[in-house]
Symmetry: C2
């Protein structure tokens, strides 16, 4: 329950772990990251923040401001950091949505290098599986693929191969060399679409 899926709680905790912020700040940051992480409404943000506080995962410091409403700066307690670390460590392939993945990247500083590499490899495995599944869906001569379906599948293929390329590139720069066979597969894809 506390683990499992990636929710606003984790997101907030993750951002606060990098730098103390107010609810308002959190939203601004998420807005700037835009579609990568998606910004929540205050209607969910503030309640989530209060809940984290009630559970002792974050502390607050209230800064009175002239003319403006009080600015409540939140940051994780030790328990909060532990809980975040738990999430980072135990998150399996099941919950690797785009948001969760991006949050893992953002928290890269708090990984051990090995942990990050393991996580990226896991992600790589997953994308590879999806690519294979799409390819299978394509050549499924169940009946001829409609134009729309072929468009959608091709789009998926393009995204998947782009991500694989990126992953390989990053893994490489982390000096984790892949076997020749595997890395070639990912590199070969880019130029042929539709």
């Amino acid at each position: 329950m506390a683990s499992g899926a990636f929710t606003l709680r984790h997101c907030i905790l993750g951002l606060l772990a990098q730098k103390p912020m107010s609810g308002y700040d959190i939203r601004r940051v998420m807005e700037k990251l835009g579609w990568l992480i998606g910004s929540p409404s205050y209607g969910s943000l503030y309640p989530a923040l209060h809940a984290l506080y009630d559970e002792g995962l974050v502390t607050v410091d209230v800064l009175a401001q002239a003319g403006k409403p009080d600015r409540k700066l939140y940051w994780p307690t030790e328990a909060g950091r532990r809980s975040l670390q738990d999430w980072v460590n135990q998150s399996g392939p099941a919950d690797v949505t785009l948001k969760a993945f991006v949050m893992h990247l953002l928290l890269a500083d708090s990984f051990s290098a090995d942990g990050l590499i393991a996580y990226l490899l896991q992600r790589r495995e997953q994308i590879l599986a999806q690519q294979v599944a799409l390819e299978a869906s394509w050549s499924e001569a169940d009946e001829q693929v409609g134009w729309g379906k072929s468009l959608a599948l091709d789009y998926g293929r393009a995204l998947a191969s782009a991500e694989l390329n990126w992953l390989d590139h990053v893994l490489n720069s982390l000096r984790y060399p892949l076997s020749g066979e595997e890395s070639q597969r990912a590199k070969a894809v880019s130029p042929d679409l539709v």
Copy 2:
């Protein structure tokens, strides 16, 4: 309100427009498309299907089967097709999430060619804006960007540029359908479903 965001309703309606299916079928199809569209639980699928039926947007035909439970084949009514067409036509840049975008691609057959091109151009504009926003976020020398943040931003950049490439390629092939293969696909655009 009934329009706006992309929900299960639209998704179901869209899939049924391509081919009559049971709730079970719908789920299998969505599962196969995997992360592109995401498969819902039956706990949301069946109720949504019933709601569509109650509103007269889909009809059902019950096929009794030996040994197995009845198979309820659903497909859109005229009203359903109209409602779907409305969604396709009026969906603005606001709701262009990945799911919604993929659904538009899947329904490409039911667009006029011009409509599809307009939609893709809209998407292109949006991705371009996101790319710019990320770039801005990067060079924001507010303080030096942490490793995690730079990783995440770079990931976003990679995805955005991959999508732009794909969009350009598709747009190009839509405007200059030359090869035999592609002109065949171009023909497939015309039969609309309304």
